[in-house]
Each structure stands twice: as structure tokens, then as C-alpha cells.
């Protein structure tokens, strides 16, 4: 195949150059290079000898691998998730689709630009990877090549996923949220059935194993020599299966996106705005009327902050019917986890189940928090609504509290949804009541932190897409970055350094309180709370100053 037409693709050239010109891309590349090289430097042997079966190099290779994998997971889908929907909103997509450039060229241009960026992302860590190779115990064919292929597969799969979601979404915000939700499923939840329901057999066992091939975790564990850990939790797939699944899913997503990438996609009727009146409804409607998105809303009562109500009403996801669905899912999963433990389906103790619940809650927080928080100010400025609010007599403080509360309350509701699981856990083991309270306090601090930090990013961003991507990056750096340091505990990081790093992560505080595996030795309460509250207070001060600046006359 002649690569010339592909390289001459104007979409590819435009997308790639515009991304590479962005300072954010340079910052991301620099961070990945610094983190990966820093990890290696810390472990570089002092004596001039090479160990052919070095465990030390594997211990460095592993965190480097996971750091790059997290960077690809977080950054690869961000731009494709906004690529099509933002072009449609700006009106440039219709111009492209009505040009002689066929839709598949538009798609390939967008996909390849993003994949090349992903390649660049893991290329900057090659010096670190080859340094591990130089330390011994790592081979090119057994470790490095499979690893690079897995990274390439991830870049393809997540870019294709982002583009597919983007082609189906009505807003940038929704596209980002759905992309990251599906990513969470692909990476973490897909291995859930195998891990939790290890006793399955026949077709169910096969489906559970097939699902694990969607996640890069088993592949990375195989490459980094942690296959034993995978097998111990019931996973038997590796990197070859992952690459096959990557190819299949990427092709499937590409076909589905191309099917949507047609001038007809702009040909949508305007919403007539159907409204349901309570009186004219059937009995079923009346029962569900409270959460019906089409019900007629009453006026904003005087005792509620109008900005908060507006925030709830303007986001599809924040509306009551959506929240109730999420709360129901949260409650059911938390109870299921506890029931699974109590009935002995898996031989996990209460500590492990509680850890899973904490991780699920943090997963919810990190999934929803950044996109909710990031849209608080950036999208208001983008839509022109901020100018209108500035021209109204409402005070900056009310704007700020209304916006923050709209996100905080949403996340709080989600957090409380998992309380039934904790209640059941306390019933099984009454002695852990105190620990549960401490975990809930830690999660409350995590909620405040997610809300405030994402709002801070939003207040300094020019577009909602940049704010959302920035919020995800900052919060993942905080939550997942510190867990990476925890992964390198003992080697290369000492216990004191790891404990200090974990203090800024309220999820780690909660996990340590529940004595989760690997966290038993850390005593993070109350210091972790003080650090978390200090971060929240600092973020709040920054936010107040920024809002004051944005609302005062020029």
C-alpha cells in the first residue's frame, strides 16, 4: 500500500500540526519523559555490573510501564472525544463532509493524527525503557516489543473509541464523559467478572475470560512479569489476546463511526420541547413524574441559589432521573459486593470488599467529578452566559457557591448511594463501625477536592473541552499518580516518601483506614485529612480570587 496519500491527508496534517503546536501537548510529553526517566534514575545501580535476571530492573520497568499506560489511557481519548462533536458544533464538519474528501479520509486523518500523538507519547519514554533493558533481566522480544505493541494497540483502540463516541454525542461534555465511562469499563470493569466470580464454568467462564481481553491490565501484567498475580485472581489472558481484541474493536468502532460520518448526521430535527403536565398523565407517569425530564418545572424558589438550580437543569446528566439511575447502580453494586463476600463466593475479607467499594466510589468521583466541575465556569464563558451573569446584580460569591454546590451535591448523592454496602458490612463485622466513619470522612474530603480542583481548572481554561481534559489530568495525577508511587514502594521509593505522597490522596487515606492489601502499614489519619483540607482551602482561595477577577469590571 502506498503511504503517500495517507501522509498527504489534509485532515491528518492539520490535526497533527495543531496538536503539536499546542503547549499542552508539549507539557504532557515532557511530564511523561520526566516521570519515566526519573523513576529509572532513582533505581540506577551504583556498581558497574549487569544482572541478567535482575529483579531490580523489573521493579523499575513495572511502574514505568504503568505510568505510560495511564498517560495513554488519559490523554489518547481526550482529543478524539471532542474531535467530531466540536467540529459539528462549529459547523466545520459539514464543510468537510461536503468537500471531495471522502468521509473515510476524514476519519483516517483524525484517527492517525491521534495515534501518532500516542506514539510520540510513549516514544519519549523509550530512553527509560531501554535503560531498564541495560540494567538486565529484560529482553527486547519478551518485554519491550510486546509492550510497545500493547501501547500502540491502546492508542488505536482509545482513539477509535473517542471518535465513535464523539460521532454520536450532542455535546463536548457528554462526549468526554461517555468516552471515559466506557474507558473505565474497558480497563477495569471488564476484568470484574473474572476476578469476582472465579467459580464459573462453561460458556459463562469463557465470556468472563473474553471480557478480560478488553483490558490492557492482564497484558501489562504478563509483560511486566506479574502473570502470577493475574492467575491468582482468575485471569489467564495475555498481550496476544489483548492485541487481537484491540484490532477487532478498533475495526468495529471505525465501521460504526464511518456509518455515522455522513452529511445526514447534521440533518436532525429541532427538539419540539415536549412537556408533560402532571394532571394529564397516566398513573405510571404520575408515579415517575418526580423524575420525568419532560415535566414542567416550577419557578426557582427564593430559598435556592438560582445558579445551582440552573446548573442542575442545564446538564442532562445532572438531572434527577439520571442521578437516580446512578445512585441505584451504586447501591446495587455496593450491596452485591458485600453479599458476594458474605456468601463466600470469593474468599475476600471485609477489608478487601471495603477496598473495592472505596475504589468504586473514587472511580465514580473521578469519572463524573472532572467533567461536572470543569464545565462550571469554562462552558459558561464559552456560551456567553458569563457575560450575562456579570451584567446582572447577582454577587460573585453566590455564583461561586451555586456552581460548586451543584457539583458537590451530585457527587455527594453518588457517595451516599454506596452507604447500604457499608451498613451491611458493619452488620457482618460490627467492630469496623469506626473505620467506616473515617472512610466516609475521607471520601467527603475527596469529593470536595474533586469539586474544587476541577472548578479551579475550569476557571483558568478558555474552552470547556480543555477544562475537562485538564481536570481529568490534574485529578488523575493526584489520585493515580500517588498510587503509582505506592506501586514502587520499597523499590525505588522508601516508606516515608510513599506515606508522604499518599497523604495528598484521600482515596489512599480511606484504603489505609480499611487496611486494604498493600496499605496495612500506612497510618494516614488524621494527617491525610489535614492535607486534604489544606488542598481544598488553597483551591478555594484560588477560585475565589479568580471569580472575583472574572466578575469585576475590566
Amino acid at each position: 500500500m502506498n503511504p503517500q496519500p495517507l501522509l498527504n491527508n489534509p485532515i491528518l496534517q492539520r490535526e497533527l500540526t495543531s496538536r503539536l503546536r499546542s503547549p499542552n501537548a508539549l507539557i504532557a510529553l515532557a511530564i511523561v519523559a520526566l516521570v519515566s526517566c526519573g523513576l529509572v534514575l532513582m533505581r540506577w545501580p551504583a556498581e558497574a555490573s549487569i544482572d541478567l535476571v535482575s529483579q531490580g530492573s523489573i521493579q523499575v520497568f513495572r511502574p514505568v510501564t504503568y505510568a505510560i499506560a495511564i498517560a495513554i489511557m488519559m490523554l489518547s481519548p481526550a482529543f478524539p472525544a471532542t474531535a467530531i462533536v466540536s467540529e459539528r458544533k462549529k459547523g466545520t464538519l459539514v464543510l468537510m463532509l461536503n468537500s471531495p474528501t471522502p468521509p473515510w479520509m476524514v476519519y483516517v486523518g483524525k484517527l492517525l493524527a491521534n495515534v501518532l500523538l500516542g506514539v510520540l507519547l510513549f516514544s519519549v519514554s523509550l530512553p527509560a525503557i531501554f535503560a531498564c533493558y541495560a540494567m538486565g533481566g529484560i529482553s527486547i522480544t519478551g518485554h519491550i516489543l510486546p509492550l510497545l505493541m500493547v501501547f500502540l494497540g491502546m492508542a488505536f483502540q482509545y482513539s477509535a473509541l473517542g471518535l465513535w463516541v464523539s460521532s454520536r454525542s450532542q455535546s463536548i461534555d457528554a462526549s468526554l464523559r461517555w468516552t471515559y465511562s466506557i474507558l473505565l469499563f474497558l480497563v477495569v470493569l471488564s476484568i470484574g467478572p473474572s476476578v469476582l466470580v472465579g467459580k464459573l464454568s462453561g460458556i459463562y467462564a469463557w465470556i468472563a475470560q473474553a471480557l478480560t481481553t478488553l483490558s490492557p491490565i492482564p497484558a501489562l501484567q504478563q509483560i511486566t512479569g506479574a502473570l502470577g498475580q493475574s492467575k491468582s485472581i482468575g485471569i489467564s489472558t495475555g498481550w496476544v489476546e489483548y492485541l487481537i481484541m484491540c484490532a477487532v474493536s478498533t475495526i468495529g468502532l471505525a465501521i460504526a463511526t464511518l456509518y455515522k460520518l455522513h452529511p445526514n448526521m447534521m440533518d436532525r430535527a429541532r427538539d419540539a420541547g415536549k412537556v408533560i403536565e402532571a394532571k394529564e398523565s397516566s398513573w405510571f407517569r404520575r408515579i415517575s413524574y418526580l423524575v420525568d425530564p419532560n415535566r414542567r418545572k416550577s419557578g426557582i424558589p427564593f430559598w435556592l441559589n438560582p445558579v445551582m438550580v440552573k446548573e442542575f437543569r442545564t446538564r442532562k446528566f445532572g438531572r434527577l432521573h439520571w442521578l437516580l439511575r446512578l445512585i441505584a447502580v451504586g447501591a446495587v453494586v455496593s450491596i452485591l459486593l458485600t453479599v458476594v463476600a458474605a456468601t463466600g463466593t470469593v474468599n475476600w475479607g471485609v477489608d478487601r470488599i471495603a477496598s473495592s467499594m472505596v475504589l468504586m466510589q473514587i472511580g465514580f468521583l473521578l469519572l463524573l467529578g472532572p467533567s461536572l466541575g470543569a464545565n462550571l465556569i469554562a462552558s459558561e464563558v464559552e456560551s456567553g452566559g458569563w457575560q450575562l451573569m456579570r451584567a446582572s446584580p447577582i454577587s460573585p460569591w453566590r455564583i461561586l457557591t451555586g456552581k460548586l454546590m451543584s457539583t458537590f451535591l451530585t457527587l455527594l448523592l453518588l457517595l451516599f448511594a454506596t452507604l447500604p454496602g457499608y451498613v451491611m458490612m458493619s452488620y457482618i463485622q460490627p467492630a469496623i463501625g469506626g473505620q467506616v466513619s473515617n472512610v466516609i470522612i475521607s471520601l467527603l474530603i475527596a469529593t470536595a477536592m474533586v469539586t474544587i480542583l476541577s472548578a479551579c481548572v475550569s476557571a483558568y481554561s478558555k474552552t470547556s473541552a480543555a477544562a475537562t481534559a485538564g481536570s481529568y489530568a490534574v485529578l488523575l495525577l493526584l489520585f493515580a499518580g500517588t498510587l503509582l508511587i505506592w506501586l514502587g514502594r520499597g523499590n525505588p521509593f522508601g516508606p516515608v516518601f510513599v506515606e508522604r505522597a499518599l497523604l495528598i490522596n484521600p482515596a489512599a487515606t480511606a484504603l489505609a483506614e480499611m487496611k486494604a492489601p498493600g496499605f496495612e502499614t500506612f497510618q494516614l489519619i488524621p494527617k491525610g485529612w489535614y492535607v486534604g483540607l489544606a488542598i481544598c482551602a488553597a483551591g478555594l482561595i484560588v477560585l475565589i480570587l479568580r471569580i472575583a477577577r472574572l466578575t469585576r469590571p475590566e
Binding site: 427564593f302 437543569r313 456560551s383 446582572s392
Partner: protein
């Protein structure tokens, strides 16, 4: 008591070395419509932002109903209804919810707000779209909702930035009628627009700014006579061979300050002049006496566009 509602005195705004607004002094009386005209970057939006309290002047003053715009911004926000050129829509929000939200942030209490929303929707003829999502409305509909939003807190002054921009002819006529109706209710309006014939039909007062400076201010007639003192005349002859002879006759009479242009294809000759009606009658007499078959001798009407171009062309 003076009837002046909006007044700026020597208003100046600089951004570093750049002067966005230079010594602007205008005043608008109650119930008047001011057409604020200028090319892009002339300082219109800067003036509007100062009047609305979103920007502070470097020097000079701006007052609305006697309230200083930079000293008492919170009071100004109650006195002014501001519609920026960008609509400011929210996703998943219906027109009624949208107006309810803005009513709430302007502090209108519940029951009064409900009644007021009905009232402004009737005024702006938007009642039928109250359940529609704001972002799904056409541009013309959004402009109407935008005006409804500015009317919610019953302000004395409405400042509308490009309200007719992007509207189809029917929507433009409706918008014009709406603005006249609001002025008839005693509202004072400041309207910016690039569609100058549109403005000349509704404005009592016109201000032309270019490069931050006020070039003309007054009623449409005053501005026209100050910026376009010369009238343009057109002579049409019966056939092409008489265009040359007509040109010769006219050149004998016209001075250098009255440049003559001829178009044999159109059978016309045009010239600007400040001559009186009697002098023009004499000119026509000479043409007829020279046996030139004149079919038309008429004044070409100047409009606001000519006035604006006469100023804008100098920059």
C-alpha cells in the same frame, strides 16, 4: 428636570498604548432610540460595556438616570437591560426555564416573576415557544428571547448589540416594530447595527464613531446635513449620442468642486452640488435650450450609509 437618561462626558478608555475610546460625549433622552454606528473595532462595544458596568473608563464619566456607571455598578444593572451580540444559551433549558433563571438572578420574587415572564413573552411574541429548548431556536427566535430576557427586570434603558444581525427580512421587520413599540412605552434604547438603513428607520438620534472618536452625533437629519451637505443630481438623456453634448453643457456651468461623471451605457450624468433650487432650474433650462432630450433631472437621495461611508472612508 432634564429628560436626559443616558449621558457620557469625555469618556475615554485606553488599554496600554491603545486608545479604544477617545473623549466620547453623547446624551440620549427618555423614549429615544440611539443608533450607535461604527465599523468593527470603533469602540462601540467598549462604550456599551462601560454603560452596563462591565468596564471602567480611564477618564470621563457615564451616567444612566443620573447614576454613575462605574461608581454604582450594582444599581446600573437594575437600570439597564443588556443584550450582547452573543446570545448566551444553555443546553437542555427551555425558554420558560431560561427566563425564570434570569428573573431569579435579578432578584424578582416568585409570583411576580411568573407574571412578569408571561408579560415579556407576550410583548416579544415568544409565548408560543416557551417549552422549546433555547439552543434549538432559530436565530430570529433567540433574538426575541434575548429581548424578553433584557425586559424581565423592567429596566429604563435597553442596550442591544446588533439585534438585527443575521435576521431574515421578515424577522427584521418584526424586530423593528418591537423596538419602536418599546420606545413608545418610554424605554430608552441604544442599538448598534451594521444594517444602517434599518437604523435610520427607527432611530431618533445617531452617533457615528470611528477609531474611538465621535464623528457625528444628532438626529438623522442633522447628521445627514452635517456629513452629506452636498446633494447628488442625476441627468438622464434619451439616447447615447446626447451624453457627450450634455456633458459639454454641464461642464461649462459646473465648478471643480462639482465633479461630473457620465455613463453612456446608462445614458446618465451625475454630479454633487450645493446649488440652490433656482440655480438648478437654470441648469436644466440650459440643457433644454441646447436641444438635449432630457428624460429625467432628479436628486439622488443620500442615506445613513452615505453619511457613514463619508466618515469611515476618511480613516
Amino acid at each position: 428636570m432634564s429628560d436626559t437618561v443616558v449621558e457620557t462626558k469625555n469618556l475615554t478608555k485606553t488599554y496600554g498604548a491603545f486608545t479604544a475610546l477617545n473623549d466620547l460625549s453623547i446624551h440620549v433622552n427618555r423614549g429615544q432610540i440611539l443608533g450607535f454606528i461604527g465599523p468593527n473595532g470603533a469602540g462601540k462595544t467598549t462604550t456599551i460595556k462601560i454603560l452596563v458596568g462591565l468596564s471602567k473608563p480611564t477618564s470621563g464619566s457615564a451616567t444612566i438616570a443620573g447614576v454613575d456607571c462605574s461608581q454604582n455598578a450594582s444599581k446600573i444593572k437594575q437600570l439597564v437591560g443588556y443584550m450582547p451580540d452573543k446570545f448566551g444559551s444553555y443546553d437542555n433549558m427551555r425558554v420558560h426555564e431560561y427566563l425564570d433563571f434570569f428573573g431569579a438572578i435579578f432578584g424578582i420574587p416568585g409570583k411576580a416573576r411568573k407574571a412578569r415572564i408571561q408579560e415579556v413573552m407576550e410583548t416579544t411574541n415568544t409565548t408560543y415557544m416557551q417549552d422549546r429548548y433555547v439552543e434549538s431556536l432559530s436565530h430570529g427566535m433567540q433574538q426575541r428571547v434575548g429581548i424578553a430576557r433584557t425586559l424581565l427586570h423592567n429596566p429604563e434603558v435597553l442596550i442591544l448589540d446588533e439585534p438585527a444581525n443575521g435576521l431574515d427580512p421578515k424577522a427584521r421587520i418584526e424586530m423593528r416594530q418591537l423596538l419602536l413599540q418599546l420606545a413608545a412605552q418610554g424605554k430608552t434604547l441604544i442599538v448598534t447595527s451594521h444594517i444602517l438603513p434599518e437604523l435610520s428607520r427607527i432611530c431618533n438620534v445617531v452617533a457615528i464613531v470611528t477609531a474611538g472618536k465621535l464623528r457625528a452625533f444628532g438626529s438623522v437629519d442633522e447628521v445627514m446635513s452635517s456629513l452629506c451637505p452636498q446633494r447628488s443630481y442625476e441627468v438622464q438623456v434619451a439616447n447615447a449620442e446626447h451624453v457627450g453634448s450634455a456633458e459639454r453643457v454641464l461642464r461649462e456651468v459646473l465648478s471643480e468642486t462639482e465633479p461630473l461623471t457620465s455613463s453612456p451605457a446608462e445614458l446618465t450624468l451625475r454630479f454633487p452640488t450645493v446649488r440652490t433650487e433656482a440655480e438648478l432650474a437654470d441648469l436644466l433650462h440650459k440643457l433644454v435650450a441646447a436641444k438635449i432630450p432630457v428624460t429625467q433631472f432628479r436628486e439622488l437621495t443620500s442615506d445613513l450609509e452615505d453619511a457613514f461611508l463619508s466618515v469611515a472612508g476618511k480613516d
